[in-house]
Symmetry: C2
Subunit: 182 residues, 2 copies
DNA sequence: AATTGCATGTAAATTGTTACATGATTTT
DNA sequence: AAAATCATGTAACAATTTACATGCAATT
């Protein structure tokens, strides 16, 4: 279960409330893993029961802040170092491309144009984060920047690929003609 | 639910059994979406009940072949054209990178080396598919090749990124020093 | 005074994984 | 004759989403 380790990872940087953690899943982390508040709150409670987190007193508006414990840090480290990442990714936009052949060429190409535009928009959003984020000298900030660069390279590659693919379809090349071209 | 549309998409190309569809999820499709036979068999039954597929007679060893119906093709088209793709991807290797800062620099860099190697291996597997797949002139083959190219560009970008990231960490640059470099 | 945002939770339904269970056919 | 592969299914469990539900605090 990646959710608990994502929560431990976020809380390893700084204590936070369930609400704040939910926002982080919506923002930066959302590109790699998704979670709603309805999943986050019960998981935080469980992690606290297991001693990996410590729950603070209730603040304004019932806010509860969770802090990671030494056991929590150890578990996070164990996950990173001793377990193999699950490489079975889930990506619906990618899935759709396999089936685009059911559409007439021009519709398929138009679909890929839209995909390309979406990746370009995403790239602009990442560039904006890059420009406006408060970059510090901490290891956390350095790794965040490296993650951001990963996102930027990925979005750039996907945009270029979608543009290329739309062109291939419009040029009407058959699979046979494509052979030995890449 | 993407699973049903993935099944419709595969069956739009050719009739197949649940067993064969399971193999396709393990192979090519697995890079974009995963599904086990225990999820596939009941879903095929449901799709047949709804009239989107038609189940053939039982063949050798109880094999059942499903064929897509016109309603099934219409639903596949509707999904591709009229619905927005869910862009909330799930990717555990990406998630881990956000938290690599908890490791000492050399351990984090070693982790990224391993990631890079994994992407290079994946790329080789895709190249092997490229070399050995029976490329035809059909729209299906053309789109499969375009999907394969997507995977190759993605794997190449990720490998290059991981190698760059390991270098950045080993060079000991702080986040502040990284600024204005990209 | 009303709206928006902060803040937490639960319940029901759906989706997905792991484990259990069986049997025929082909290959070694 | 044994092992591997083909082939299908169900049950229990875990993860995730959607919907329901509440209330305080700050802004307009």
């Amino acid at each position: 279960m990646s959710l608990r380790h994502a929560l431990l990872g976020l809380l390893a940087a700084a204590p936070a409330s369930g609400y704040e953690l939910t926002k982080q899943f919506e923002m930066s982390l959302g590109n790699a893993w998704g979670a709603r508040h309805s999943q986050i709150y019960p998981e935080l409670r469980r992690l606290a029961e297991e001693g990996l987190l410590e729950a603070g007193d209730e603040g304004a508006r019932g806010r509860k802040e969770y802090t990671i414990t030494p056991d929590g840090r150890a578990e996070l480290r164990r996950w990173l170092v001793d377990t193999e990442p699950d490489r079975s990714a889930r990506n619906e936009p990618l899935l759709r491309v396999f089936f685009l052949w059911v559409l007439p060429d021009e519709e398929a190409a138009a679909y890929l144009d839209k995909e390309a535009a979406s990746y370009r928009t995403h790239l602009e959003a990442l560039d904006e984060i890059d420009r406006t984020a408060p970059w510090g000298r901490s290891p956390v900030a350095r790794m965040f920047r490296i993650s951001l660069e990963e996102g930027r390279r990925w979005a750039t590659t996907m945009a270029e690929w979608a543009e290329w693919a739309a062109g291939e379809i419009r040029s009407g090349r058959s699979a046979a003609e494509l052979e030995g071209m890449s």
